[in-house]
Symmetry: C2
Subunit: 232 residues, 2 copies
DNA sequence: AAATATTTTTAGGTTAGTCTAAAAATAAAT
DNA sequence: ATTTATTTTTAGACTAACCTAAAAATATTT
């Protein structure tokens, strides 16, 4: 008798589907930005599903003790739910490093592939991959890779738009869209690039910068907001 | 409006689910061994699902022109169905090479992981992976890796049980179970090992062999049947 | 050739994950 | 403090992928 995808009386490790994993990740992301419990609406926006679907799913996750849920009051992850979410992020970012460092992908094309790879289940695979990549602490967008316990390396970083004068190094991006990343490539604003603020334009918040002590450039406030810089 | 997992009027590339892919692969495997169309029963055995589920699925695959199907007469893959099946096998085997060559897995633990990895969709990923691995032609079990058109490298190989006298090199295994592969490791019967037949025992078909001109060993007929050898 | 056995299909049900529309609860505005 | 707007939940339906049990077709025996 086969019990493929069927939970038996003897199966204590609860099965978590890819969809459930994605919901947990969405809730984690929302909780990163806000302290309040994640609202149904916020989750439905993040997941591109209807609020009704979210209500449904939340019940199932609560049933499995992956989230805490009180009707009308939003959801928070339990320890176990958070474990799954951070592990997903860990896998996602490790695979992104693999794609860029080993397979020569560029940073603007890796997200959707990592979105699939992050669901591969073997923990041994993650360990070996981590080792193979030299235990990286940040992914190709500068995001920290959590360790196996879900701890993120914290790094002081400032939005370029908040950076009033002086020099800095680009160490991360907030937006991950292909469009934005390709635009950054065109401006040679990649990770590790040094930037000096020449002038912040009051009118619209644009910033005139010098890139790598070499080329002057004006970038919009929107771009500046999406760039994380480490002052030097 | 989002059309995630929804086929729109404008979506000409038909979506094929992981499950559908697995059915196509199962049909391909059956067709490799027999010339007749794959029977419902054979597929249900391969897939560990009921015959009723297979009947159901076959109809859906026929609807999508991935198989040819006449009631009561079994199924054969269309060109498109075969394309998907061989591509899955290609991805499976490339990932197996990756796991062994780059991540130091052993040949007995890679199958289930590759079973998941083979469904990752990006074709660019497969191309880059292939290149990264040095365009391997065989996987860690000695199975040929089809090229992007689904062509397999053919290699003359003989079951050790059919090999009456002389020397040979182990170049493949028929069974892929953990148990069998670990047993082979214990006997140091890995790929590339040289073997000389000393004696075939009439009574039960066991074979007395000399491994790497070094150690004598008796192996059962069952083991011998699952070893592929290239005469030298 | 008839009877029996096997294989395949159909019929009818289940679950996960989605949806829309309507109802209920909460929040915001007058 | 009512009314209005927004958010969330419920109700009811759909599809993919599975199942069991029964019916229908094909194969095998006697």
């Amino acid at each position: 008798m086969f019990f493929k995808n069927r939970i038996t009386r003897f199966n204590y490790l609860k099965m978590v589907s890819n969809t459930e994993e994605n919901y947990l990740k969405a809730i984690f992301k929302i909780s990163e930005k806000e302290t309040a419990p994640a609202s149904t609406n916020a989750i439905s926006t993040e997941m591109h599903t209807s609020a009704a679907s979210v209500s449904d799913m939340i019940k199932r996750l609560a049933e499995k003790d992956l989230v805490l849920y009180e009707k009308w009051k939003g959801v928070t992850l339990t320890k176990e739910g958070k474990k799954i979410a951070t592990n997903l992020i860990r896998k996602h970012r490790l695979w992104e490093v693999f794609l860029v460092d080993k397979l020569n992908f560029s940073w603007d094309e890796i997200h959707p592939i990592a979105e699939e790879l992050e669901h591969i289940k073997s923990t041994k695979l993650v360990q070996h991959l981590d080792e193979f990549l030299g235990f990286p602490k940040f992914d190709p967008h500068g995001d920290p890779i959590p360790d196996e316990h879900g701890n993120f390396t914290f790094r002081k970083q400032v939005q370029l738009s908040e950076f009033k004068k002086g020099k800095g190094i680009i160490i991360g991006v907030d937006e991950h869209s292909t469009q934005f990343l390709q635009y950054l490539d065109r401006l040679s604003l990649t990770l590790g690039t040094s930037i000096e603020i020449i002038e912040v334009i009051d009118y619209d918040g644009s910033v005139r910068i010098n890139i790598n002590d070499n080329k002057e450039q004006i970038i919009s406030n929107k771009v500046a907001k999406n760039l994380f810089v480490k002052p030097i």
